[in-house]
Symmetry: C2
Subunit: 201 residues, 2 copies
């Protein structure tokens, strides 16, 4: 049994180091993009060594693939009103705390084709799903605008730090929520606009 516990601590040590490297990779990829993040910088930030990083993850590309991922939002279903509610909730969460892995993928997508594919796949999957359930001939277009609005808000807040978007998620959603309501049911009138999102106070 002594051997097992010994192996355990060693395996655990290795797993902890791997996790530290992965966390450092996520942060640096998210801050500086793919090309400007070097294996050396990741190793240093993780208190480790470039050689180990390569040994654990095989290549920079594979490390990035593990570090940057877009978690698919749960399936979105129901009436336009229900869809709007689910979209609003998902967007609120993205504004509150977008995970480092997503930010890494989002930043890298503009210079790293594989990251672009990752994000595109996640976004088009959700958009298609939404478009199928929305009324109106221009459902595909409207779900595209929903995607653009979401992308703009997330990028504007977390990556570009656009003026005015540093308000609380609740405040931002007070403005953005009604737009989503409008886009889901195809008219600016029937959803009562402003009331759709909760006020922060």
């Amino acid at each position: 049994m002594r051997r097992l516990s010994w192996m355990n601590t060693r395996v655990e040590r290795r797993q902890r180091t791997e996790a530290r490297i992965l966390a450092a990779a996520r942060q640096l990829f998210g801050e500086h993009g793919y090309d400007r993040t070097t294996i050396r910088a990741i190793a240093t930030a993780a208190g480790s060594d470039p050689g180990l990083v390569m040994r654990y993850f095989g290549s920079k590309e594979k490390l990035f693939a593990q570090a940057a991922s877009i978690p698919a939002d749960g399936p979105i279903k129901g009436s336009p009103e229900q869809i709007a509610e689910q979209l609003t909730a998902a967007l609120t969460q993205k504004l509150t705390e977008e995970p480092a892995a997503s930010l890494a993928a989002l930043r890298a997508m503009f210079s790293h084709p594989e990251a672009a594919e990752e994000v595109r796949a996640a976004m088009t999957a959700q958009q298609r799903q939404i478009a199928e359930q929305l009324p109106g001939e221009d459902a595909v277009l409207r779900s595209g605008v929903i995607g653009a609005l979401t992308l703009g808000l997330v990028i504007g807040r977390h990556l570009v730090r656009l003026d005015g978007l540093d308000a609380s998620p609740g405040e931002v959603m007070t403005v953005a929520g009604p737009l989503i309501g409008e886009l889901t049911n195809g008219t600016g009138r029937s959803a009562d606009g402003r009331g759709q999102a909760r006020h922060p106070s």
Copy 2:
């Protein structure tokens, strides 16, 4: 006079080469970002030579500064309705044909800090200008959402090629126009929504 005409052709030749290099730089920076665009690739695309590129522009950084720029939209002034109209027109144009220089700056901004500053400066200048003239306590926030929507639409169409955004600019504006109208006057009701933008057919 013979010398003058001789100089002219030579100066012209040089200017033409410079223009070709600049055009190639814009296109490649816009397609692959700053880091992945090499001086060598630009020179080849322009049918020229890496040494000449350096000689003409001094450095890759200076070449990028000349190639990637965000033209400031004209000053935006007037009542909320007029502002909405000007914003709609500007956005329509950005959707119709965003110049290569802007696309280069937009793509590079996520990995190249100086490009980020370029875009941020242009966007915050316009947003501040708009926020000053909009009614409501949350004018700054609303102009921020306008910026995010614009950014999302331009990026979604030209850079990410989001599903559904490949419609004609007129069709896209049929959906996005009312949102801008709603954001400028602070309510989803008073602007008549859909009627704001022209239909394509």
